[in-house]
Symmetry: C2
Subunit: 195 residues, 2 copies
């Protein structure tokens, strides 16, 4: 991919540093810096969450670690979760598995757009619909045979771009970190301490 990135960036007009709304100068600087010093690619992303009672809780996201430094977001982000009434909540926020679908949609979209920009593929419009299958028999502990998480998730993208590029754009989705976390799995270490 590195050589491909280098070759394809020659397709981008050097007078136009933005492709698909992505600043190619920043992106290329990041790529080149990490090529020279792979350890610069190590990031730590973070969230804090506070339970609000019942099925409601709130996350705050304020900073992360990247390029060997702690970096503050320009603003703190707050995200609310709840459950709908049928799942014993008050519908004050998307529920956790809907938040997961949002994370997946956002990540696959950004991954496709950024890698397309590097390859000189211009995208005019991009939208997606996601649907995931979840069987509550798993979560409720009514069956040990049923997965507790999503079994299948479907993403349908509709893209306004050169029609010949659809297969390439589909392949680029494979770079998405959230997609890979879901399909390849990640280790999750849980600690619970008394307050």
């Amino acid at each position: 991919m590195t050589d491909q990135m280098k070759n394809n960036t020659t397709q981008v007009d050097t007078n136009d540093l933005t492709v698909n709304g992505v600043n190619m100068e920043i992106l290329q600087e990041t790529v080149h810096a990490i090529e020279q010093d792979p350890d610069l690619g190590q990031c730590k992303f973070r969230a804090r969450n506070t339970w609000q009672g019942g099925t409601q809780n709130r996350s705050t996201i304020s900073g992360f670690y990247a390029a060997r430094q702690e970096i503050a977001h320009k603003q703190q982000f707050e995200l609310h979760a709840d459950e709908p009434p049928i799942l014993a909540g008050h519908d004050e926020g998307a529920n956790p598995v809907e938040h997961l679908l949002n994370a997946l949609a956002a990540c696959v979209t950004t991954s496709m757009v950024a890698h397309a920009a590097v390859q000189g593929i211009r995208i005019e419009e991009l939208e997606s619909e996601l649907e995931g299958d979840l069987d509550l028999n798993g979560f409720l502990g009514l069956s040990t045979d049923v997965p507790k998480g999503f079994s299948n998730i479907r993403i349908k993208f509709r893209v306004k771009a050169d029609a010949d590029q659809m297969e390439t754009l589909k392949q680029l989705t494979a770079y998405s970190p959230v997609l890979n976390t879901i399909t390849q799995g990640a280790n999750v270490d849980v600690q619970v301490a008394a307050k």
Copy 2:
């Protein structure tokens, strides 16, 4: 778990139908209905996403399928994603992997609180900190040996509850659908069509 649920609910004062802020009547009705008719547990959760240009996109979440019917949320939820400047964005929203950490925090919290309620464990306060390790060498395609998603995620809960219950509360986190989707993996089918 079913028998355990039935036994433990006897610990809950029948005059107080809310435990940990969770309406036990609704929760128990759901459990009993799905026990009688397991197919009622099949759910489909959904999100729509629209690219806003560059690293920005927006999801809308408006309804889902559960208990053999389409159900509209009381309100439509909008979630924004962006990247920080160092990742070629404008910091107008949490980034996709931060949204994933929020989904995980929200789900493990709700799962712990609801299952604790069923077991008669009262929780007064609950908060968590999450951190996930991501190596950009994977996403950027600079190394095929590096995972493109999170390799490790750590969740540290601090709980105000009976100190003897910490190990039980930790075990209850294993019911979380988002945790299971991440640790056990899910199939993700991606389609890309011209618009």
